[in-house]
Symmetry: C2
Subunit: 429 residues, 2 copies
């Protein structure tokens, strides 16, 4: 009696799983549940193709898959049979099993506590609207284009050669594309050696802080400031000196006074859309800050995470583009532009600093995803990023104005606020 | 005279660029080069569709794209015209331009030097073969399946809600999938709270080291050892004590002697395929090491980056699965399995430690790519990862044996070596 393969091998031609793999999966499950025993001869590919009503090549592909996985052995021109050694992963046990499920316990060895305050949830969610502190709406982003390129980069033969190269500093491809992009959008005159690709603005802040600051250092930050940046500086045990932020940005006169009394290693500024007040640093203060940096030899950590979003006015060129001695560390990100899950940002600095940041970053996590970086490079090169930015700016602008009208109409008697020039809706103190 | 739109708007129906976007791109370029002036009225969508021989909806889509980008204004039922304000990004200049291109200088502010020795290039490359210290061949990996899922996750409406959730610790989706995966493959009995998703094994080592070690700490490592791990421990200023690795792995008797004299905070071990000698820690030493860990209260940092690849013997269950008090920090990675560019790894530890590592990781780089994590979760759930592992193991095994035969045949009189049980070809001292 012939084995009822037609009932064992279930093929659903509507399924997204290729038919050859459906054949393989069915046979594996028959082997696993004992229906097909070790050593059992299977029908020839020609016979099985006839039984199942599929092309012979499909059956051959299924058999090859099974052979590659050691479920069957193929003896060419002779027979196909279920393997004698069924390839189940059987790790070897040793010692006694821990019935106490050790990971329910606490780690009893002393370790450093990174105190984490209760998270301040700023996001307001509706079924279709999310108001938070600046995540992009991924539905507007050209993620599909990005992934299409990613796929083609991994499928080509040269994928192996390309992807592993230089991912600690970031692929040369993306860094070279950024040289042009940062020149066009920000007037920066740099080379690929001045760029380190990171997992986002936060990693650039962390690397800069770790390399610049130590227990004896002083760093100046705005008050209020992006709290995660403060936390990052605290990690280095440096002293954090807060300077007021008013409607022109951080108070540079106050910085000058402090510099006369103390040795300052670095000043952290967010020149566009200061977090959380959304103000932009005025021209006078920009000039003054660069002067002070030259005079007192401090580094400026310029966190320009939000340069690309402006509604009613053009952005100012970064401090990094201004007249400085190479002591501006410029930080940017693509997470705000495309997708908060896309962890790609960058740091621009003199080569000697980039080199050490790269060496340090190697210890932290080796590097980033080279394919994704090259896919992003292609997106920038083809102008797709610029197109996306224009479209999404317009869309966010309209949403802002729509909400503004609604708020004034419905809640005008109860709330007052300033409409920001960026994508943020509320300054929240 | 009607404007020669047919000559300005070039449509290539074979192109991968959608026709509506080709229309938009052509019009933008005509605006940019001055062919179409500000205020010029464009034909109605119906007229242009006729001129170009495309569907009217295609023209409308093109016009909407142009409108979204502010290149044209659409006055419904009246006219469509080239915008008066052409939307070029014109950042505002301020202060003097720095003609000295500041980033050619060195950063003159003192900063920490992470000494990087000249890289020891171990890879041997041929046009189609690369021999290195253990990168997977991406051509064998189911990257396509992974990216297909990634795309579907970003395209759906719920993408926004899903992707931002909990990416510092890793998506719950992937952590839950790993609970099952690590139970099936390694016998680990844990919950999603015991897992932190990192960018790979190296990040897990870095986080553990930073939290466990300080200047006064002692850590034991193998000699020879994975050099990047040593570098990571050096960063904490802890003292590194080296213990010989022989053909049974790290010498546990030597560890015992040291523990009697000194307070040891942690022992770093690579139980499978120790880097660079490829030896596996013997059963007796596994039992002994766990005993010592209980007796002397030290943490074991178990770097099991290569658990999944075995050719001739089954793997041993990890130390983490053995009888311990919750003081084993277990480290694994998917970069070795799928793609070195795919930066996803994990750490398993008691909840109190995972919580602090998560808080610390937030400062370093906020988190990973939530979509990619969920795509990987789907790959594991559908059994695709397991199938891939079986196939690629077989393929690597064959390549190893093929090279072994070739080496014996061609160079047998000149070289001697031990064929390793893992994917490595040579132990290199």
């Amino acid at each position: 009696m012939i084995f009822p393969y037609k009932h064992i091998i279930i093929i659903d031609k509507e399924s997204k799983v290729p038919v050859y793999r459906q054949i393989a999966i069915s046979i594996i499950s028959a082997i696993k549940n004992g229906t097909l025993k070790a050593g059992t001869h299977l029908p020839s590919s020609r016979e099985l193709a006839k039984i199942l009503g599929v092309h012979r090549k499909t059956v051959i592909a299924g058999y090859e898959e099974l052979d590659a996985q050691d479920w069957i052995m193929i003896v060419p021109r002779k027979y196909v049979a279920v393997s004698e050694d069924i390839p189940l992963l059987k790790p070897q046990q040793w010692g006694e099993t821990n019935i106490l499920t050790p990971y329910e316990k606490e780690l009893a060895i002393p370790f450093r506590i990174i105190e984490e305050k209760a998270v301040n949830k700023n996001a307001i969610s509706y079924p279709d609207i999310i108001i938070d502190d600046g995540h992009p709406d991924v539905r507007l982003s050209p993620i599909d284009d990005l992934l299409k390129t990613y796929r083609s980069l991994t499928s080509r033969k040269y994928a192996i050669k390309n992807a592993n190269i230089g991912t600690t500093q970031g692929t040369l491809n993306l860094r070279e594309e950024l040289v042009t992009y940062l020149s066009v959008t920000r007037g920066l005159n740099i080379s690929a050696d001045n760029i380190l690709i990171t997992h986002g603005a936060q990693m650039s802040i962390y690397l800069s802080a770790q390399l610049l600051l130590r227990r004896s250092s002083n760093i100046i930050v705005g008050k209020p400031n992006y709290p995660v940046a403060n936390k990052t500086f605290e990690e280095t045990e440096a002293s954090i000196i807060e300077v007021n932020v008013d409607d022109k940005g951080i108070d540079t006169d106050a910085i000058e006074k402090i510099c006369k009394r103390k040795n300052i290693t670095a000043v952290y500024v967010i020149p566009h859309h200061h977090y959380p007040t959304t103000v932009t640093l005025s021209v006078e203060r920009r000039v003054k800050l660069l002067e002070l940096s030259r005079q007192f030899s401090f580094a400026i950590i310029e966190d320009d995470y939000d340069y690309d979003y402006h509604y009613t006015s053009s952005p100012y060129l970064p401090l990094a583009t201004g007249n400085h001695n190479g002591n501006v560390i410029y930080i940017g990100s693509f997470s705000k532009l495309l997708d908060p899950a896309l962890r790609i940002g960058f740091m621009v600095a003199p080569k000697n600093f980039i080199k050490q940041c790269t060496a340090f970053r190697k210890i932290i996590d080796v590097g980033g995803d080279g394919y994704m970086q090259n896919a992003l490079a292609a997106l920038i090169k083809e102008g797709e990023l610029k197109r996306h930015l224009k479209k999404s700016k317009k869309c966010y602008h309209q949403r802002r104005d729509f909400l503004d009208v609604l708020l004034k109409e419905k809640l005008g008697n109860y709330v007052s606020y300033t409409v920001p020039t960026a994508e943020w809706l509320f300054g929240y103190y």
